[in-house]
């Protein structure tokens, strides 16, 4: 079976309009240094004739300054570079009306965030956090963001590059796509349950098992794409749907919050809405005590 693992650049060609991808250029920003964050591919392409920002991973790149970055790992430079591409996108369309804010397409194939001593000394957590905040800002500014999982979407790296999108698509697991925190074999070791038991449990509860189908049932993936040739059309359709939802003021049907509702609808995350309601109700019952001017209770 064919697979796109490690082929972020090929995926860009398959998804975008022919020969439209200009790497290293987003709005007014140019990423001129080829040695800066080489594990992240950023640039501008056309999708169905309209400009889009593309952010992908380069599995062939090795960051000589930060040797933990190879095989698509997102290191400190990569995380900040991706964030810069998003901010440059927001700036490029700052004056554009919502219907013209360009889409951002995330092509996801990353095994992790950079693990290492230097990364911890300088704070890898900030780089991945910075990229997520940038994406969330772009999402609320009106840019449609669609993520396409073509290979590995692993744990914190998927949170970083993918899970802040408005909508998430994934090639089916036939294409070798992997979405998980840990493979089931590792989970089996840690939670001390044999594989057979876990696999059986996974049939009725998608909450721990690995793979796009389980994430889909939890609302973590909007749509599974079953054919490589369908990626382009599916992304174009989702960009259109997302844009329409934003123009209609239905931002709460998109992004992580929208996927929460989807998880309940698909029967995969049914406890979440109950707990959210419980918290809201319990606060509503006492909220008057915390309003400005309410008599201060308690003695210090």
């Amino acid at each position: 079976m064919e697979s796109l693992i490690g082929q972020g650049r090929t995926a860009i060609e398959l998804i975008c309009d022919p020969d439209s991808f200009a790497e290293g250029s987003v709005g007014a920003k140019t990423f001129a240094d080829p040695d800066f964050g080489p594990g992240a591919v950023v640039g501008t392409a056309k999708l169905d004739g309209k400009p889009v920002t593309v952010i992908a991973n380069d599995a062939d790149a090795f960051n000589e300054k930060f040797p933990v970055v190879y095989a698509g790992v997102i290191g400190m430079e990569e995380g900040y570079k991706m964030a810069q591409a998003v901010y440059a996108t927001i700036a490029a369309d700052a004056d554009a009306p919502k219907e013209n804010k360009r889409a951002i397409v995330l092509i996801v194939d990353t095994p992790g965030n950079g693990p290492g001593k230097v990364e911890e000394i300088f704070g890898m957590n900030k780089a991945t956090g910075a990229y997520q905040l940038a994406l969330a800002e772009a999402r609320y500014t009106g840019h449609p963001i669609v993520a396409m999982v073509i290979g590995r979407a692993i744990s914190g790296a998927f949170l970083c590059h993918g899970l802040q999108a408005d909508q998430i698509l994934s090639l089916d697991s036939d294409f070798g796509t992997m979405i998980h925190v840990m493979p089931l074999t590792s989970i089996s070791r840690i939670v001390k349950k044999d594989m057979e038991t876990l696999e059986k449990l996974a049939e009725s509860n998608p909450v721990f098992a690995a793979g796009p189908r389980f994430f889909s049932r939890l609302g973590g993936v909007e749509e599974i794409v079953t054919n490589i040739d369908d990626m382009r059309a599916t992304i174009i359709r989702h960009v259109g749907e997302v844009r329409a939802a934003k123009l209609a003021g239905k931002e709460d049907t998109l992004g992580p919050w929208g996927r929460g509702a989807l998880g309940a609808e698909r029967g995969g995350r049914v406890v979440r809405p109950e707990v959210l309601k419980l918290v809201a109700d319990e606060f509503a019952a006492v909220s008057g005590k915390y309003l400005p001017g309410a008599a201060l209770e308690g003695a210090a």
Binding site: F66, E77, Y80, A83, Q84, Y87, K117, E119, E120, I121, F122, G123, M124, N125, K126, A127, T128, G129, A130, Q132, L133, E137, S155, G156, L159, C160, L163, Q164, H180, V181, M182, I187, V207, F208, A209, F214, L218, G220, P256, W257, R259, R269, V271, R272, P273, V275, L276, L278, V279, E282, F283, V286, S287, P292, G293, L296, E297, G298, A299, A300
Partner: protein, 318 residues
């Protein structure tokens, strides 16, 4: 639970999640959400035959400090390492959302409200991130927290408090980094990849996770204070964290943005100067960065009492 007044002098490190939550806000003002009496346990742990907790290892609620409503989220490391699952994640998300909705309501109904009457969120982190027993739901909850943070920007300040045993790692490491303010004690640890995972991935030569001193040098509160990743370094008492939180509650809301480390293009550019320095220095140890920042004797500095440390340390200027 001990009397409120006796909580304050306690070590923050030794305090459990509920003691921290109650002690951080004024006496008698804390209302818990989805608390133990609601018995919202994790169905996923139950299916696996694991022990459950009636609060799913996280205490959420609202209290007051002076006139300020303080929404509190406090993680319990003694229950599965404070890891986040579906129930605990929803409690966290729901509490931040309640604070944002409450801020909207106050803006509408009390247009003349003073800043100190508007809500803040305080998160006492003690976690390694995702709970593997319900890994997918835990991961998705992390993304929802980040989403709520962006919604809270400029409206509800979110403050991280880190000084508990497990530290703050994994996905919650970048969740904490994405808040407006980070407050730590010297015993707090903040990072992305925990010491055991670095050792497992990169080998013992890169990182010996059994070397506790190395672990604290790399991710501990003093180091993060030098790096600017932690805004305030406080004494390891509930009162110490509470005092800092009280000061922040009074701060004009417009001043929180300046305390951030990430969250704008400018801040990303500033952080990239740090990354360039990392590439240039190639530090073998966090202490190399301390020396570079202008601290010629990092060993004595690391041993100095916290107040003296704060007074004398040179923080990295980017």
């Amino acid at each position: 639970m001990s009397k409120w007044s006796t909580l304050l002098s306690r070590s923050f490190l030794e305090s459990n999640a509920r003691e921290r939550a109650v002690g951080l806000v004024d006496e008698g003002t804390f209302t818990e959400f989805a608390g133990p009496f609601d018995r919202r346990t994790s169905p996923h742990l139950e299916v696996l035959g694991e022990a459950v907790e009636f609060d799913d290892g996280i205490v959420t609620g609202v209290g007051r400090i002076g006139k300020t409503p303080v929404f509190v989220i406090s993680q319990e490391g003694r229950f599965i390492g404070g890891a986040v699952g579906e129930v605990g994640g929803a409690k966290m998300v729901g509490t931040i959302k309640a604070a944002i909705d409450f801020a909207d309501r106050i803006a509408k109904d009390f247009p003349n409200a003073a800043d100190e009457e508007k809500p803040i969120v305080a998160i006492s982190f003690e976690t390694g991130g995702v709970r593997l027993h319900e890994a997918n739901a835990g991961l998705l909850a992390h993304a929802e927290v980040m989403d709520q943070f962006q919604r809270a920007r400029g409206k509800v300040p979110v403050i991280s408090l880190i000084g508990s045993k497990v530290g703050c790692f994994g996905g919650m490491g970048f969740v904490a980094a994405a808040t407006d303010v980070v407050v730590m004690s010297e015993f707090g640890r903040l990072g992305l990849t925990g010491p055991e995972v670095i050792e497992q991935e990169m080998g013992k030569d890169e990182f010996d996770s059994a070397d506790r001193a190395l672990v604290y040098r790399t991710t501990g509160g003093r180091h993060k204070y030098v790096m600017g990743d932690c805004n305030f370094l406080v004494e390891d008492t509930v009162a110490g964290f509470r005092a800092q939180l009280s000061e922040l509650a009074k701060l004009p809301r417009s001043e929180f943005e300046a305390l951030r480390r990430i969250g704008s293009e400018k801040l990303v550019e500033k952080q990239l100067e740090g990354v360039a320095l990392a590439a240039e220095l190639q530090p073998k140890d966090a202490r190399d960065v301390w020396v570079h920042a202008g601290n010629p004797d990092p060993v004595s500095l690391a041993m100095a009492p916290v107040p003296q440390f704060r007074e004398t340390v040179k923080r990295l200027a980017l």
